[in-house]
């Protein structure tokens, strides 16, 4: 990846000064097309709002760090942080358990690790990006071929994390050749057609790699608006393209396999058995023909290259990344600015995810004050992680196998989400979902409402209760299998209700609490004047966790 532009930032050279900017340690930067009016968040609230969008939730320490170093340096540091590994953790716990005569790790351990990394991992932006990518390039442990392979599935997560700021073409390559994806979308051990034609190559991956991972179903402009012909949308591909791509994705098997049926079950990159690979000519996307007689890796590269190069790729991927970080209904102009970064990061490179993520988060539509329709419902899991981080939650101790239990291993029933555990390849919620009623009438999109209903709203609220009311440092008989919120800062302010509410506003609502909510919380504290300090503190946290203002990030 071309990192020249980042080096330029760290030289601290400012070529342009916006009028009225104060001189100081940092000057506004104008590097290529990254037009950052000022590199420093103006106050704690701006920093916290950015961190709410970019991480698993702001902490006071992170707010202070961001305010000191500024956005560009923050990105540079995040880009340079190595990925917190899930797979090596799983292997360690697995080895410890086996050595002690116990059964090996399960996906429960994978979920424990996911929650732990989200709560206190250093590589926050990298992990958030992996989470976003995992909701586009979906695999799921709900699939029977993966339900018994937690280590392999955790490696898939690590692949997304390692490549989070690399090139999307590399992500596609890694994902295509990954055995867990191979099993999930059934191109693992996919064979070319039988001579009598009765057995045909499996079409699953061929279809989804186009529909969900690269280009979608209809032709789009760079701003994601549909391209119309005679007033009708234009399909990007037809069944023939799917059938031909199915031929491309044939021959895959385990890394050390020598036939289509042998090999050791590992998470290592698959190999391709040339004898089971279809070597006929294949006419795929855009009418392009992959020539006959090529070997498997060349066919696959050619096939994926074409999808990566398709004009849809930039808006299709960019829009979803905006939806995962900042806004459910980005303006066409916002999508286009991000898509342009996908097409060219400023140094001629297409698919630079680092540049794309920077544009998503630094774009004026992300950084400027919210409008009525901006923002997004927060993903329920992210409301939980943000609560832990807001209150510097104390992590449980590891057990004798080095596993750290985080209290919930099956969040789907409670939250409607489970990392790498969606019910279908269409993720927990779809990018185009429009909640019937005022949202659809307004022409807005609301993916997260697809799983937020009367049932999950209650169950997730009850979970926030467990993780706040029943999980704090200093409680009697604290649980040893979930994080404990550190509510001391709030308890210490108990004699000053206004200060307590301010602290809630700072840590959980990035300074955006409305005057009405403030009045409600103050009245509540006044009414429970006889309650203990700790009861007031956890009441504030719990009620805030349920509030509409916490539910929606803006």
């Amino acid at each position: 990846m071309n990192r020249n532009w980042l080096t330029g930032l760290t030289l601290g050279v400012s070529l342009f000064l916006a009028p009225g900017v104060q001189a100081g340690g940092h000057d506004p930067l104008f590097v290529n097309s990254f037009e950052i009016p000022t590199d420093l968040p103006g106050n704690d609230a701006e920093a916290a709002r950015f961190l709410t969008q970019a991480t698993y939730g702001p902490t006071l320490a992170e707010i202070a760090r961001l305010r000191t170093i500024g956005y560009s340096e923050w990105f540079r540091q995040e880009f340079n942080k190595p990925a917190t590994s899930a797979r090596t953790y799983m292997e360690l716990v697995n080895a410890n358990r086996i050595a002690d005569g116990q059964s090996g790790v399960s996906h429960n351990n994978r979920l424990d690790r996911w929650f732990h990394t989200a709560a206190i991992g250093s590589d926050q932006l990298r992990q958030r990006t992996a989470f976003a990518l995992s909701q586009i390039l979906v695999i799921s442990d709900q699939n029977s071929t993966l339900s018994g392979e937690p280590i392999q599935v955790s490696e898939y997560w690590d692949i997304l994390a390692r490549n989070a700021f690399g090139n999307y073409r590399d992500v596609l390559d890694e994902v295509t050749w990954n055995p867990s994806m191979g099993k999930y979308l059934s191109h693992f051990r996919n064979r070319k057609a039988s001579p009598d034609g009765l057995r045909q190559p499996d079409e699953n991956y061929a279809r989804e790699v186009m529909q969900l991972f690269t280009i979608g179903l209809i032709e789009r402009n760079l701003d994601f608006s549909p391209i119309l012909s005679g007033g009708q949308p234009i399909p990007t591909y037809n069944q023939s393209v799917v059938t031909n791509y199915a031929k491309v994705f044939t021959g895959f098997n385990y890394n050390n396999a020598t036939t289509i049926s042998n090999g050791t079950n590992t998470y290592l990159r698959m190999t391709c058995i040339q004898g089971e690979h279809d070597t006929t000519a294949k006419t795929v996307i855009g009418g392009t023909t992959i020539p006959a007689g090529q070997n498997c890796p060349v066919d696959v590269d050619d096939g994926i290259d074409l999808l990566f190069a398709h004009p849809n790729a930039a808006p299709f991927v960019s829009r979803q990344l905006i939806q995962r970080f900042v806004s459910s209904s980005p303006s066409p102009a916002y999508i286009q600015r991000v898509a342009e970064k996908f097409e060219d990061n400023g140094y001629g490179e297409r698919g630079d995810l680092g540049a794309v993520i920077m544009q998503v988060l630094l774009d004026p539509e992300a950084r400027s004050a919210p409008t009525a329709n901006s923002g997004k419902p927060r993903e329920p899991l992210l409301k939980l992680t943000a609560m832990w981080r807001a209150w510097d939650a104390q992590m449980p101790a590891a057990d004798s196998y080095a596993n750290i239990a985080m209290g919930m291993t099956s969040p789907t029933g409670t939250f409607g989400q489970r990392p790498l555990g969606a019910d279908t390849v269409f993720n927990f919620f779809e990018p185009d979902y429009q909640q019937p009623g005022i949202i659809a009438v307004a022409g807005l999109f609301s993916p997260e409402f697809q799983t937020l209903n009367e049932s999950t709203l209650t169950s997730s609220s009850n979970s926030y209760y467990t993780y706040s009311w029943n999980s704090y440092v200093g409680m009697s008989s604290p649980p040893n299998n979930r994080p404990l919120l550190n509510l001391a800062p709030l308890v210490g302010l108990a004699s000053n209700p206004a200060a307590m509410v301010d602290e809630i506003n700072k840590r959980m609502l990035y300074g955006s609490m409305s005057s009405g909510m403030r009045a409600t919380l103050l009245n509540m504290l006044t009414f429970m004047d006889g309650a203990t300090a700790i009861d007031k503190a956890r009441t504030l946290v719990y009620v805030t966790a349920l509030s509409p203002e916490y539910a929606v990030q803006r």
């Binding site: 399909p235 009525a372 409600t520 349920l546 509409p548």
Partner: protein, 485 residues
């Protein structure tokens, strides 16, 4: 939130209503429909549809199999022969002797249902095969989304005549839900509910109830599905009780949920929250242990469809009871079971194979039938299946891929069952009505099945049916005739 509208007096007024975590539900009057010696205990004229969605694309052509030797042989050949884990792992056909116990017949010939449709042992409950033989189960053969009837030649020559995005899970599922082939935000179930819900007493509870998650099928113009889980309703932690602190929390939450917000996302969130709490209060007394909404019928365990259908039975019982404050006369339920997308392991005998999935479906529906008997609602409830598509007859090596025309089931006391509707197709690959992998061009459309069900629910006028199903007029009949009344 709007300004400084919250005063301490308002706050205290909220707190004084300790039971009012919502409040609307407690204001509904009880209703005695007939105050005579022959007082009814259930809502008269009650009807309900139950949609069972098979997610992933059901391999329906192994659920309904031709049994006479000649047609069976065609079936087996197209499916690459009888499956045998050792000698023919790629074959997808069920062995003919294995079908002997689930034979059924129809005027069009001899068939068998999947071997997994035998009766459930233990509690005496019928499987799908018994229900067919009792005349309570009808099958629709070769049904799928269509814009209009289409021949194979037309399919090949005129792509614009094909329904859009064939073979795509989400798009085909959508067509089943919306009952038309152009983009539309509402489902046919929701639109039917819009028209027939007027006789329901409690309008706060939607006539459309989902135990199977969010769906478009139940979305109408004024109707939006109420979602429940199969384990019932949970109350909100920390918001009950009479302590000062509980009251304070409750009051504060209610104020936050009563305020208005600039963001439509926040408004929608609070709308869902309010509805959740109001309906919890309403339904909880009925679903609680010993309440009106309990059924004694044994349902199979480790069967999510059974869990969902048990809740449906309980809700039907509760909704018809004239001593309870729901009293709906028209309802539509939605349940969902996944796992059908068997590109791999289709013929596996384990829990990852189709046979086990069909077993769970058969046992769940059999238990549901028994529960409807327990509550006296077998004639009032019609259950039907949908799935995005059937699967290819031909194998991909150990499974099948996405296809088109499928087989649906209709179950109910008011169903003219024990027979096939539609046309059983010639199962030759690349045959008169099939494409190269045994994908069938449907002979019956989704619209026709759905319109028949809509008509049973009370939507009978041509103009109403035409509004809900714009393509309906393209087909020879808007009533397939599988309902008795």
């Amino acid at each position: 939130m709007s300004g400084e509208s919250t005063s301490r007096r308002n706050f205290l007024r909220q707190l004084s209503c300790a039971a009012c975590a919502g409040g609307v539900a407690t204001l509904l009057p009880q209703l005695n429909l007939i105050s005579s010696a022959l007082a009814q205990t259930t809502v008269p004229g009650y009807k309900a549809l139950v949609c069972v969605y098979f997610a992933g694309g059901n391999d329906a052509w192994n659920v309904l199999v031709p049994y006479d030797q000649a047609r069976y042989d065609v079936y087996a050949a197209s499916r690459s022969g009888v499956y045998n884990a050792n000698s023919n792992p790629g074959g997808l056909a069920i062995d003919r002797p294995a079908l002997a116990n689930t034979q059924i017949s129809d005027a069009s010939g001899s068939y068998a249902l999947h071997p997994s449709t035998i009766d459930r042992s233990g509690p005496a409950q019928p499987g799908l095969r018994s229900l067919y033989n009792q005349g309570k189960l009808a099958l629709i053969s070769n049904i799928g989304p269509l814009i209009q009837p289409i021949t194979k030649a037309e399919y090949n020559s005129t792509p614009t005549l094909r329904p859009p995005q064939l073979y795509s899970h989400s798009d085909q599922e959508n067509l089943w839900h919306i009952g038309r082939t152009t983009s539309y935000a509402r489902g046919w179930g929701g639109q039917v509910a819009d028209l027939v819900r007027t006789g329901n007493l409690n309008q706060m509870l939607s006539p459309c109830i989902s135990i199977g998650g969010g769906n478009r099928f139940e979305v109408g113009a004024s109707t939006f599905p109420y979602q429940m889980s199969s384990s019932g309703l949970a109350g909100l932690s920390g918001m009950t009780g009479t302590s000062t602190e509980g009251a304070a929390r409750r009051g504060a939450l209610q104020q936050l949920l009563d305020a208005s917000y600039p963001s439509p996302y926040q408004e929608e969130y609070r709308s869902i929250f309010n509805r959740s709490r109001d309906l919890y209060n309403l339904l909880n007394s009925g679903l609680a242990s010993g309440g009106i909404g309990n059924v004694n019928t044994d349902f199979p365990t480790q069967n999510s469809l059974a869990d969902q259908l048990k809740m449906v039975a309980r809700m039907i019982k509760l909704s018809r009871d004239t001593s309870f404050n729901v009293q709906h006369s028209r309802q539509i339920y939605y349940v969902r079971i996944g796992g059908f997308d068997m590109h791999d392991n289709l013929m596996s005998a384990g829990t990852n194979g189709h046979a086990d999935l069909v077993r769970r479906v058969s046992q769940a529906l059999g238990a549901f039938w028994a529960a409807l008997g327990e509550i006296g609602a077998q004639n009032e409830v019609t259950t039907f299946t949908m799935s995005e598509f059937a699967r290819t007859l031909s194998t991909n090596g150990n499974g099948s891929d996405h296809a088109w025309g499928s087989v649906n089931m209709i179950l109910g006391g008011d169903v003219q069952g024990g027979r096939l509707y539609g046309t059983f197709p010639d199962q030759t690959l690349n045959g008169p009505v099939s494409l190269s992998r045994g994908q069938f061009i449907p002979s019956t459309s989704v619209d026709q099945m759905a319109a028949t069900l809509a008509r049973w629910m009370g939507v009978t006028s041509t103009s109403d049916l035409g509004t809900i199903f714009p393509n309906l007029a393209n087909f020879s009949s808007s009533n397939l005739g599988f309902m008795l009344h």
